[in-house]
């Protein structure tokens, strides 16, 4: 896409004749993609199918660049994607990484992510939608447009809904400005499926449908520890056991939002820890470790244990 693309070894500046050797691996390392992929591996627990697909896409783009240096014509691959999965499975985070990867491989020029929902695209009255949608599209150009809960764009129960207008503009841009932006639609699996059924144009324009699996209890525990590590907290041994039990119980309850529920649970545990420390502060002095450690009781106090119900705060925070 740019002049800084692949140069075959042995012919600086010139086009390859076909005999030259191309060092794909060296090019791969030079493009910083490895770094982003590593970060993806570290920051996101599990999600194996997603990671595999992203690596495949990275490989495709790299090979495509190599092919171009030999003047093998191939159409720019379409990279519009749809992410389906339950809440809190990391769709937004992955979208951000994808934007970085595409930028490293020169597929998009800027590599920023513009995250929108129906409200940002659809207007309130006649003639309001088109400028609004175009405005968002213009902002996303050179990067990735991430439409969260994309199925809200289409409201079959109201035939005068302006969402249809936004859909038409999007479809047009996805087709005509493939070099300028990548569109990622995200949402829950079932509703996205119905959405694609009623908008076949979208389905055919999207090359990559990526499904985000739910996390297992072990993975959730890992995520929790990762989150705590980032905030300089740790679990005591008993705390870890309690947190494991908490996760098992919480997963069975309604409104479970994977990573997001874990984050909320930890936030509440921190609240209880602070309260515990504060209440015993008259009789006790603390060391650094005490301030960092979440104990079992910080988790057992949750209502998930007491009544098998959601905490009040939890109901609101979802």
């Amino acid at each position: 896409m740019t002049e800084s693309g692949l140069k075959p070894v042995g012919s600086p500046g010139g086009k390859a004749s076909g005999e030259e050797v191309i060092d794909l691996h060296g090019e791969y390392e030079a493009s910083n993609v490895q770094e982003v992929l590593d970060r993806l591996d570290h920051e996101l627990v599990g999600l194996q199918p997603v990671k595999t697909r992203i690596k495949e896409i990275a490989a495709l783009l790299l090979v495509d660049r190599a092919r171009r240096s030999f003047e093998l014509t191939s159409e720019t691959p379409t990279l519009h994607m749809s992410f389906t999965g339950n809440p809190g499975t990391g769709k937004t985070t992955v979208a951000m990484r994808i934007a970085e990867i595409l930028h490293c491989l020169d597929y998009v020029r800027e590599g920023h992510l513009v995250s929108v929902t129906r409200d940002d695209l659809v207007g309130q009255y006649i003639g309001h939608t088109a400028p609004k949608t175009k405005d968002v599209i213009k902002k996303a150009m050179g990067g990735v447009l991430f439409i969260d809960e994309a199925y809200y764009l289409y409201r079959p129960e109201n035939e005068r809904d302006y969402g249809q207008e936004a859909i038409e503009i999007l479809l047009q841009v996805m087709e005509n400005n493939r070099d300028d932006l990548v569109v990622i639609l995200a949402g829950y699996k079932e509703r996205m499926d119905t959405f694609f059924q009623s908008n076949p144009g979208f389905r055919s324009r999207i090359a990559h449908h990526i499904d985000f699996p739910d996390y297992s209890a072990d993975e959730l525990l890992q995520i929790g520890q990762l989150l705590l590590g980032q905030q300089s907290y740790r679990l005591s041994e008993a705390g870890e056991r309690a947190f494991g039990e908490y996760i098992d119980l919480r997963m069975k309850l309604p409104q479970f939002a994977n990573g997001r529920s874990i984050r909320n649970a930890l936030d509440r545990a921190r609240l209880r820890q602070a309260n515990r420390l504060f209440n015993s502060s008259r009789t006790q002095k603390f060391v650094k470790q005490d301030l960092m450690t979440l104990e079992a009781e910080d988790f057992y106090a949750s209502r998930v244990f007491a009544e098998g119900e959601l905490d009040q705060a939890q109901v609101f925070s979802i």
């Binding site: 213009k138 150009m141 932006l181």
Partner: protein
């Protein structure tokens, strides 16, 4: 008569690729880029019609070029210019403005002489490149 005004006025017409690069520069400087059109290119006419709102928070010139092309489609026989507004304290005005489209035929200006007292003559440059108006003036 080829009308020149704004930045790059003595260069040949910018290609789309060149326009993109200039706009990219403006966006990198955090200027708000806007598109204006008019059929009245008189140098004193500062009030061109706006094509949509100024574009804020853009990262890539592709969006601006898309709008330019749409404006060209709607007004192929008008002058279209791109302006870049710098909101930096102390500047707060246009930094760059250049023409990106002009009519195929540019009638230029019509000079009107008005005799006033003492055989003194006042000159008015009728800038109207408006095709219809130029024609009307000719048929008077």
């Amino acid at each position: 008569m080829r009308i020149t005004q704004g930045t790059f006025s003595f260069l040949p017409e910018l290609t789309d690729e060149q326009i993109k690069k200039q706009v990219k520069y403006c966006l990198d400087q955090n200027y708000a880029v806007n598109i204006e059109y008019t059929d009245d290119p008189h140098p004193r006419n500062t009030y061109w019609e706006m094509w949509g709102l100024p574009m804020f928070d853009l990262k890539d010139p592709a969006g601006v070029l898309m709008e330019i092309n749409e404006c060209r489609k709607a007004y192929p026989d008008h002058y279209i210019r791109v302006g870049a507004f710098d909101n930096e304290r102390g500047t707060e005005s246009l930094r760059i403005s250049f023409i990106v489209n002009r009519p195929a035929h540019e009638p230029g200006f019509r000079l009107q002489r008005t005799e006033t007292d003492g055989r003194c003559i006042r000159y008015t440059a009728h800038a109207y490149a408006r095709l219809t108006e130029a024609r009307n003036a000719g048929s008077d």
